[in-house]
Amino acid sequence: MRTLKDYITSLLTEGCREDGRSLLEYRPITIEVNPIPKANGSARVKIGATEVLVGVKLDVGEPFPDTPDSGVLIVNAELIPLASPEFEPGPPKEEAIELARIVDRTIRESGMIDLEKLCIKKKEKVWMVFVDIYPLNDEGNLFDAGVLGAIVALRNAKMPKYDKKEEVVLHKELTTEKLPLQATPILNTFCKLNGVLFVDATTRERKASECRLSIATKANGHICAMQKGEFGSFTADEILRLVDLAIEKGKELRQLIK
C-alpha cells in the first residue's frame, strides 16, 4: 500500500512539493499589524493556510529575585481547538509548551527586548511583557509563524500609561512610547525526510517527516536559538547547511517586517 509518507517522499526526492513549491520556498506570507485594539501590540500572520494571532499585553509587577532590575518576558501559546481538529480544549499540552518556549527563547536570547530598561523601581516594580500566541488555523509551521507574529506585535506595541504616584497601570490610556527593542530575530524551521531538507512544512509534510530543526538568527547573521524535534536525526553537515539556509531565509523574512 502506498502511504502518505511514500507519496510525500517521492515528491520531495524529485525536489517537488504537493503545493508546487520548491524545497526552500515559503508559502505566501501576509502580516496584518495591530488588528486588536485592546492589545498593546498585535499581529495576524498567515503563512499559506496557517494563521496565527499574537497579542502583547504590558503590565507592571514584581521582578524575579535573581534579576531585580530587569523587566519580565512571559510567552504563552494556546492551541485552541478552533484552529485544528487535533487540538483539544484544556490546559496546555506538550506541543503548546514547546511552541511557547521556542518563541520565548528566540526573543530572549536575541536580546530583542532591552529588559533592563523596563525596570521602574529595583526589586519592586518592573514592566511585564506578556506575549500570547493563538493559532487560528494550523496548516503546519506554527513555530515560524508564531515568532514572526510575536516580533511584529512587539515592534508595534505601545506602552500604557503608568501612574507613578498611585503605582498603577492605566490600561485604557496608551502612550506613543514603544518598547525598548534592539534586535529582530527570525525563526526558520526545516524538516528532513529521506535525506531531503526543506523549509516551511505543511501539516501533511510534517507528519511524514523524520525530524525538524528550528534555527533563530539575527540581522548580523548570528544564531541565537536552535531546537531539534521529532525522533529522526541530523548529521553535522546537514546542520551546518541548514544554518547557512537559515541566515539566507532569515534575511528574506526580515524584509517583510517594516
Binding site: I36, P37, K38, G55, E78, L82, D132, L136
Partner: protein, 241 residues
C-alpha cells in the same frame, strides 16, 4: 453612586457617546469560511467587538459516554484571548465563560436538527479576539453562520443582539461604557423566521413596559442582522459569473 471612570452622561443631546441614535446598531461585518481546517467557520465584528467561530463535526464523541443515542452532543466553548480585554485576561475557562458556553449551546440548539446526527458530537469553538461589549451575542450570531457554513441541517439561523437602558433611555446594542455604566442589559437571540427567542438574559432594572419595548427593539435589529448573515453565506457560496 459613581463608579471609577464613569462619564457624567451617556446620552448627550439625543446622541450616544459614539454618536449613534438610540436604536442604531454598531457597524457589523460578517465573513463565512475563515478557518480552512474547520467544517464551517465565521468571523464577525460589531464595532470593536470581534469574534471568530469554528465548527467541527459531526464527529466521534470523546469521551464516549457523552454520546446520545437519539441526538447529537452539542458542545459550545466560549473563550477569550488574553489580549482581548483592557486588563490581561487569564487564559483558560472562568465561571463567566462556562456560563456563556452553556447559554450559547442552548441558544443555538433549538435551531439545529439535533436528532439528525445521533451518537455524534458537534463542536462550536468561539474565540473572542477583541472584547468591547456584546461578545456573547456576537458569538451566537457568528456561530449560526459557522453552523450553516458547515452544512449542518438547521430550522433557521439564530440572530442575537442586546438592548438596554442608559440614562433612563432605552437603547440598542450597548457599547463598552454603556455596558459598564448602564442601568439594564438584555441580550437575546431569536430564530428570525418565527421570532422565537432562544436566549434571554437580563440584569439591571426594568419595568414591564420597558422590557416589552426592548424586546421589540431587539427583534427588529435581529432582522437586520439576519440579512447580514445571509449575505455572508451567499458571498461564500454564490456562483460568481
Amino acid at each position: 453612586m459613581t463608579k471609577v471612570g464613569q462619564p457624567p452622561k451617556l446620552i448627550v443631546r439625543g446622541k450616544r457617546l459614539d454618536g449613534r441614535a438610540p436604536d442604531q446598531l454598531r457597524p457589523i461585518k460578517i465573513k463565512a469560511g475563515v478557518v480552512p481546517n474547520a467544517a464551517g467557520s465565521a468571523e464577525l465584528s460589531i464595532g470593536d467587538t470581534h469574534v471568530i467561530v469554528a465548527v467541527y463535526g459531526p464527529r466521534e464523541v470523546v469521551p464516549r459516554h457523552l454520546a446520545r443515542p437519539d441526538r447529537v452532543y452539542l458542545e459550545c466553548i466560549y473563550d477569550m484571548t488574553t489580549f482581548s480585554t483592557s486588563d490581561r485576561n487569564r487564559p483558560g475557562p472562568s465561571r463567566r465563560s462556562r456560563e456563556i458556553s452553556k447559554v450559547t449551546a442552548e441558544a443555538l440548539g433549538p435551531a439545529i436538527f439535533l436528532e439528525h446526527y445521533p451518537k455524534t458530537e458537534l463542536d462550536v469553538y468561539i474565540e473572542v479576539i477583541n472584547a468591547s461589549a456584546g461578545t456573547r451575542t456576537a458569538a451566537i450570531t457568528a456561530s449560526a453562520v459557522a453552523l450553516a457554513d458547515a452544512g449542518i441541517e438547521m430550522r433557521d439561523l439564530v440572530c442575537s443582539i442586546a438592548a438596554g437602558k442608559i440614562d433612563g433611555q432605552l437603547v440598542l446594542d450597548l457599547f463598552e461604557p454603556e455596558d459598564n455604566f448602564g442601568q439594564a442589559d438584555l441580550p437575546i437571540s431569536i430564530m428570525p423566521r418565527t421570532g422565537e427567542i432562544t436566549l434571554l438574559q437580563m440584569d439591571g432594572d426594568l419595568t414591564k413596559e420597558e422590557l416589552k419595548k426592548l424586546l421589540a427593539m431587539n427583534q427588529k435589529a435581529c432582522q437586520e442582522i439576519y440579512k447580514k448573515q445571509k449575505a455572508a453565506l451567499k458571498e461564500k457560496y454564490e456562483v460568481k459569473k
